[in-house]
Structure formats: structure tokens, C-alpha cells
Symmetry: C2
Subunit: 383 residues, 2 copies
């Protein structure tokens, strides 16, 4: 009886499916050494990754297409069609970590139906995680430690003239200590991504859970806002300034809604890429509100002019040192590197800089996971 | 100086974009009467909806494609290409509410790059919201009332052998009442969707916020689990039974993690489509744990056999009436209707049924938003 009911239900449901994605796990076994990427939808067998060789094999069901390619890490791979209309290719070895990619159907870039959606470059893109091995365990779920929560909240912003979505990480102990107050880190994404990036692509909750459980980081609240001025469908015109929204709308909302310390010594801000730029634009004019900051792949100033940048905030090194407890600057070794500017600032007498380089990575999420893992333990601790 | 920094940053960022989606709001004004769909990514001008005529105009940038179509509500629309490679079509008038759709690039169904991603039919699909007008205000954000939070949590399931993701809605007052306990509604999605469906496509937080603020519903916790057995990339083999996971892993985790009442009178379960079937499969064998239930477009039993279904749970009507405070059954008028089975059950003496029909809607989210809006106010209130 149960089986009959289930079959009848299944037939009904299939009627609502628009179409089916590519090959599924039921249909064929994976080649030796390959496993489905962790970034796939839960039924998708491909793309499959060989952890030893770091190559990825893609399959796309597209019987009516003339030409199908995979666009991954700056290279387009031609796919080959079999008699059932499934196109296949295998990539070169990839750098470990998370990468966006696209499928080109007759030259048109689209999302791979086998992938979960990852918002990047302002569209819902496919992504693939190349496993790093044990050194990447710090951003994976650890069942043996307590876990915080990422809370999805909409709050009203007068400046935006719209409700704005934020994600707020609270540490595992937050609910068990109903009178305890916490410091707050504001953590911003980069251009083309959104306020979900840090928890989805960045695995920030796993990183923070691990650091806090190990006693390496102080239990803290992490607020992840949008770095864009979004509008509603009735208006759809950008208004206001996102740094004003952070300071005038968001910080008061957080301090009203969560159990926070509200002084500058307990408030930090950091961001990746454009979010690092927004961090500078927010913190420097509001140095009475923030005492810790970080820019991950986001400290972009033309060489030589760094001492003039940001309205000359670095000119009085002693004043800057006194006010800012930490100025964390990080980069991947395979992207534009702010090393010379960091040297200039240090030579000038700025002594609160921690400079971190992620070896072998570019402008990508593994660089930023590593940055957060280095940055968070240094927050809210004065020597 | 700021402008220079920003330009230099922008150029750097553009280098990382794989490709650009279709026409943007900057590029051309919308035709009279059209507004961007609320389901678009925040920069996308199209699809645009005419609220008066309920038609949608789609645009897709695909200069290299031979043929592009939109697949919406069971009909394929041929698109027409202009000299810049942008394809356009306008749909027939649509039923109000949320609909999935696909773009066909030379016959291959893909996601529209202008849409946010909505997980349905087991892939990240495009979706479009046709505005309902004032009668749909109950599922929109209301800035003048307090708002709950949807918490994203991973918990360990021994049965699944994996961490499982849940979303948990807590009412706005939850944090302000640190010793108060709450009843719990377990709310399940349907086939092909996931645990985010109720909060994303369903706008459940707006619905619950409104009902609670108006005093229509009791403040409650709403737990939204996955209805699928997901596996990890290392195993990727389904194991266990999802109804066992609900009862043996999830309920104890929720009662340990949140301030809940743990008796059956304060625990409800409901689900849409397959989730309604899972609700029956979970609640009937565990009637000591649940006293309220709902199936939204999910009460599927072959006509005539309803009294034999689910191991004969309905046979002793008096016993069923005594144990179950509410058996809510709902449907859209444009889908398979369980009306006759409801009549059979009522004639048989089952007197705790509330039957709700959503006028003019099919197996779709507007049916289920309306169902939740009718169901939630009846929970945890005994006459």
C-alpha cells in the first residue's frame, strides 16, 4: 500500500518537473578515483573531482546543442558528445578551493544544472570545490564541537528606503548565556557576490565554530550585510550610500537586537575585495566606532600614493597606531599584491599592521577563508 | 582620489567576471506599465511584469544561439533576436504568484541569468513572481511590525551519517523573553525543492510575522528540515529513512537547542505535496508526539481506499478525533483535489478536519502560502 501511494505520488510530481538535469548517480558509476564535487546538487554525480590529480570531469546533457564548452579558471574546454546527447570533458589540474565556472551552450554562458547556485559576478553561477585535504579541515563541518547559528534577518533601512537582508552568526554559547554581551565583527563580501557569500562559499560558520571551540578566538557575533544598494521592484533605482547604511542603520539595529558591547573596542570590520575598500571607507571616517579592521585582497591604492589615500588617515602614524588596535591586510600570492604599500606604511611608522599572504591562491575564496582564519583569532584581544 | 581608487578597483573586479548577464537597468527604460520582477537579481531589468495585464516580458542575451525559447507554465514561447543579440518574448497572462520557468538555448533547458536561483525539480531554477496586488500583502515584508529570524543550522544526524541543514524560524519576541517556552511546528517542503523553499519561495517569515503581530497566531517556533536523505561527497549513497530522522534525530535536537514545550499538545507537523505525505508517514505512527497536523496539496490516496490508508489510522474515527486536535487538508482548485476523500472521512466520523481550497491556483507556491496563512492561526489553540 505504501509503495502504491508513493508511486502514484511520484508520477504526479514528475508532471511538474520542467526538465531533468544531466547524468545522475543512479545512471553510471564514477571512474576510479573520482567523487562528486561537494558543490553539486545532492543528486548530481558530475562534476566529479579526482582528489589526487585535482582534475574535474564535467558532463552536460544537451542533445540539441551544436557545441558545448566548460569555462573554468580562464580556460575554455571543448566537450565531446556521446550518442545519448551527453557532453563530457576533463579539466586540467586545478588550484584547491572554490572556483566559479560556466557552461557554454552554443557560445552562451549559462549555469551548470548539476551545481548548486553561488552568487558571483552578479549572477547565480555554478561553482566547484577542489578538495584541499586535511589542511582544509578547518572550514569543514566538525561534528564533535558546538555549532553557532547563522541568522537570516531583514531590517528596515531608511537610507536604502527598503528592507535589507543580513546574515548574523552567533556563537554556540550565545543562547546558553542569556545575559552575556559579545563583541561584533562586521564582515563584508566583494563585488558581484552577496551577503550569503561568507557563509556559503566562505564556510565562515565552520571556521568560527572551530576557532571558538579551540579557544583561539573570542566568542563573537559576526554580521554579514550586503555591500550593494539594492532596490525594490517598484522603484529599482539605487539611492543612498552603503557606508552610511552600515554606520547609521545597521550598527544601531544590531546593538538593539543582539546582546552586544557597543563601544569601539568591541567592534571590528573587515571585508574582501571591494568589501575591503568599503571597510576603509567606513572605518576611517568613523574611527570612534571601530578599533579593529581587516582588508582581505581589498587594499588597493596606487603605489606610492598610499600615504595620501583615504583623506590622509595614515599621515599621522602615531595617531593611527593609538586608535587602531589591528590593521590586518591580506592577499593571495597569485593576485595583485599590496606588499610594497604595506612596507611603505610600516616604514612610515604604522605598527599595528599584520600582513598575511595565502600561498598559491589568487582572488578567490580559499584566500579569504585563510584570511578569516588568521584574522579572527587576533580580534578583541589587547596585549 | 576616491574616484580614482574606485575606478582602479572596478577594472580589477571586472577581470574576474566570467561573463555578463542580459540587459541591465542602465541600458534601456522599461515599456510603460512594466516593472522588473521581484524574483530578479538586483541589477536585472528583465523579466519585467505588467501588473495590470499579468504578462511578463523576457530578454536573454545570446548572440551565438540559433534558437531561444522561454518555457513557462507548460508553454514554450519562441523569442525573437534583435541586431545586438538580445532575444525577446512576451508571455500570455499568468496566474498570480510564483512560477518556475526555464530558458531553452538551442533546445537545452537552462536557468535565466536574470533570475535569482530557486531550487525546484532538483535544480537551481529561474522563477518569476506575478504580483497579486493588496490581497498578497500578507506575504510581503511589513516594516511596521516586529520581525522574527530564520536561523540556518547544521546538526549531526546519526541516521543520515551526515550533518543536516535546517532553517528554524523564531518569533520576534523570542529573544526578549529568555525564559519563555514555545510550541513548535515542523514544516516540510515538497519533492524537488529543499529546506529553503518555505522561507524563499514561500515567504513564511513574512506570513508568520504578520499573523503573530496581529494576534491571529500563537508565537511559535517553525522548523524547516530537508525532506531528502542527502549524502556527502565521500559517500553519496542514500541511507536511513527521513521520517526516522525527523522523530529520532531532529525533534530531540530542537528540544535541546530551543526553548520548547516538549509535549504532543505543543508539537505540530505539516508539509506540502510530498511533505504532506511525509507528515502522514511521520505523525500517524508517532501520534504520542504530535497533536496537530496539516497536508497542503499533499493528501494523495486513491479514491475509495482512504479508510484503509496509512495502516488504517482513520478506521477508528473516535480514537483519531480524540488524539488529533487538527487535521488540516488543503489544495488548489486547479490541481488534483482530495475533496471526495475528505467527504468520505467526514462521513465516517472524522470531525477534526479543516478543508481549505485556494481559488484559481494549482500545485504551486501561492496555494501553499495561502494554506500556511489559514493553518497557522488554528494551531495550539484548544476550544
Amino acid at each position: 500500500m505504501k509503495k502504491l501511494l508513493f508511486i502514484s505520488l511520484s508520477i504526479l510530481m514528475i508532471g511538474y518537473a520542467i526538465a531533468q538535469p544531466g547524468p545522475r548517480r543512479e545512471e553510471e558509476p564514477l571512474p576510479e578515483g573520482y567523487k562528486p564535487a561537494s558543490t553539486n546538487t545532492f543528486l548530481a554525480q558530475y562534476p566529479a573531482v579526482n582528489a589526487a590529480t585535482r582534475v574535474a570531469m564535467f558532463k552536460v546533457l544537451a542533445p540539441t546543442a551544436q557545441n558545448v564548452q566548460v569555462d573554468l579558471a580562464g580556460k575554455k574546454y571543448d566537450m565531446v558528445k556521446d550518442t545519448s546527447g551527453v557532453w563530457t570533458c576533463t579539466s586540467d589540474p586545478q588550484v584547491v578551493g572554490f572556483h566559479y565556472y560556466a557552461i557554454l551552450i552554443d557560445g552562451v554562458a549559462v549555469m551548470d544544472r548539476n551545481s548548486e547556485a553561488y552568487f558571483g559576478s552578479n549572477w547565480e553561477s555554478a561553482g566547484i570545490e577542489i578538495p584541499e585535504g586535511p589542511e582544509g579541515n578547518y572550514y569543514l563541518f566538525n561534528k564533535d564541537i558546538p555549532h553557532g547559528q547563522v541568522r537570516s534577518i531583514h531590517y528596515w533601512s531608511d537610507i536604502n528606503g527598503l528592507e535589507r537582508h543580513i546574515n548574523v552568526y552567533v556563537p554556540a554559547e550565545y543562547e546558553a548565556n542569556p545575559t552575556k554581551k559579545y563583541p561584533v565583527l562586521y564582515l563584508v563580501h566583494g563585488w558581484g557576490e552577496d551577503e550569503n557569500g561568507w557563509s556559503v562559499q566562505g564556510h565562515m560558520a565552520n571556521i568560527m565554530d572551530g576557532l571558538i571551540a579551540a579557544g583561539k578566538a573570542v566568542p563573537m557575533i559576526v554580521v554579514m550585510p550586503s555591500g550593494d544598494i539594492k532596490t525594490n521592484a517598484d522603484v529599482r533605482v539605487a539611492s543612498g550610500d552603503v557606508t552610511d547604511i552600515y554606520v547609521q542603520n545597521l550598527v544601531p539595529y544590531i546593538d538593539k537586537t543582539f546582546r552586544t558591547y557597543t563601544d569601539r573596542e568591541h567592534r571590528a570590520m573587515a571585508g574582501l575585495s571591494r568589501g575591503g575598500f568599503q571597510t576603509c571607507r567606513t572605518v576611517f571616517p568613523n574611527i570612534d566606532k571601530f578599533a579593529w579592521m581587516g582588508t582581505f585582497s581589498g587594499f588597493f591604492v596606487r603605489d606610492g600614493n598610499v600615504l595620501d589615500a583615504f583623506d590622509g588617515v595614515f599621515k599621522d602614524a602615531a595617531a593611527f597606531n593609538k586608535q587602531m588596535n589591528l590593521f590586518f591586510i591580506s592577499t593571495g600570492t597569485e593576485e595583485r599584491n599590496p606588499k610594497e604599500m604595506v612596507e611603505t606604511l610600516k616604514t612610515h611608522g604604522i605598527n599595528n599592521i599584520i600582513f598575511h599572504e595565502s600561498q598559491g591562491t589568487a582572488h578567490e575564496w580559499l584566500t579569504w577563508r585563510r584570511a578569516l582564519n588568521e584574522f579572527a583569532p587576533r580580534l578583541f584581544k589587547k596585549n
